[in-house]
Amino acid sequence: MPRAGSSALQDFCRLNVDLLSKSGVAYPQLPRLCSKKFAAAACNGADFSYYICNDPGLLRRGREGLAPVIETLRTVQASHVIVSSEFFFGAPADRLATVRDAFKDAGLPCGFTFTFVNPMSGWSRATRST
């Protein structure tokens, strides 16, 4: 079954931090927001995206809950910061909007580059750039 390549991109980013840095791209490790533990995979946005999708904290605390991630990203010296996770795909729209607005207000405009997969593999592969 064909796939879209998100894991390949994540592996590439994890293994080529220096190369990316020379081109002004950062692939940072983010502070943990969830109590859930994730496998030590190349995907640097697993915890963050899981928090957005599933953690009631985002609804309860709103933007405040995102502060540790935003503070980390604000310290990164790069023209592009990549945060990647398949969990972003399928996240509730209202929560994504909360994240978008919080980032925007913090001076971190964000976009979404999404490579769509073949129908037989079917599911989500998303990579977000900020």
Binding site: F12, N16, F88, G111, F112, T113, F114, T115
Partner: protein, 199 residues
């Protein structure tokens, strides 16, 4: 599909995903939230910049990378024997005898041990494949109508149908050989290489 986490037969897994499939809806949500900052691209290996997903992606976000090497087998799909072994191992998770983070390690061992097998797609039953195609066609039609209305061709090439196999062919001895071979590749790497070179 995330084959590394399977605990059930691939057919059961696929049928279980159908009610949850909302590719068009989720894509629409992203577009609604991010607007012009959202870019949707069709995955077509022949059309990728440099025929490479990394070059293509960074080109899309406006970053020119210097020269780099990206092995063609990076993150290669697990074959059916590897997935079947993992499926059984994953059932040990609730007993605390295995964790999902072990699966990547196992696949590395399996690669060293040269565990070979057919792709898992050949084990999808015909009726399951047809059910997946029907459901996916609905999603794809919705996406085409919204995001690619002027494209004068189908969004995707339909994968060719291949000969079907049965997971019943995978008896315990075959799986056991895969497991033992993988572990031996770590403990006695030389023996595995010597064995592989034997005609």
């Amino acid at each position: 599909m995330k084959s590394r986490d399977l605990t059930v037969d691939v057919n059961e897994y696929l049928l279980g995903t159908l009610p949850e499939m909302r590719v068009a809806g989720a894509t629409g949500d992203l577009h609604d939230v991010f607007g012009r900052e959202f870019e949707l691209a069709l995955y077509d290996r022949d059309q990728l910049k440099g025929h490479d997903i990394c070059s293509d992606f960074f080109g899309r976000v406006g970053v020119e990378l210097g020269p780099f090497e990206n092995p063609s087998d990076v993150n290669a799909s697990a074959n059916a024997i590897e997935i079947e072994v993992l499926r059984h191992f994953n059932r040990l998770i609730e007993h605390g005898l295995w964790s999902r983070r072990n699966s990547r390690g196992f696949l590395r061992f399996a690669k060293k041990g040269r565990v070979e097998g057919p792709p898992i797609g050949r084990f999808v039953r015909q009726e399951v494949e047809e059910a997946v195609r029907r459901r996916a066609d609905e999603e794809v039609a919705e996406i085409k109508a919204r995001f690619f209305p002027d494209l004068g061709r189908p969004l995707f090439k339909r994968p060719a149908t291949t000969d079907r196999l049965s997971l019943d062919d995978f008896n315990e001895s075959k799986l056991l050989r895969a497991i033992v071979g993988s572990m031996l590749s770590v403990v006695h790497p030389g023996k595995q290489e010597a064995k592989a070179k034997t005609p």
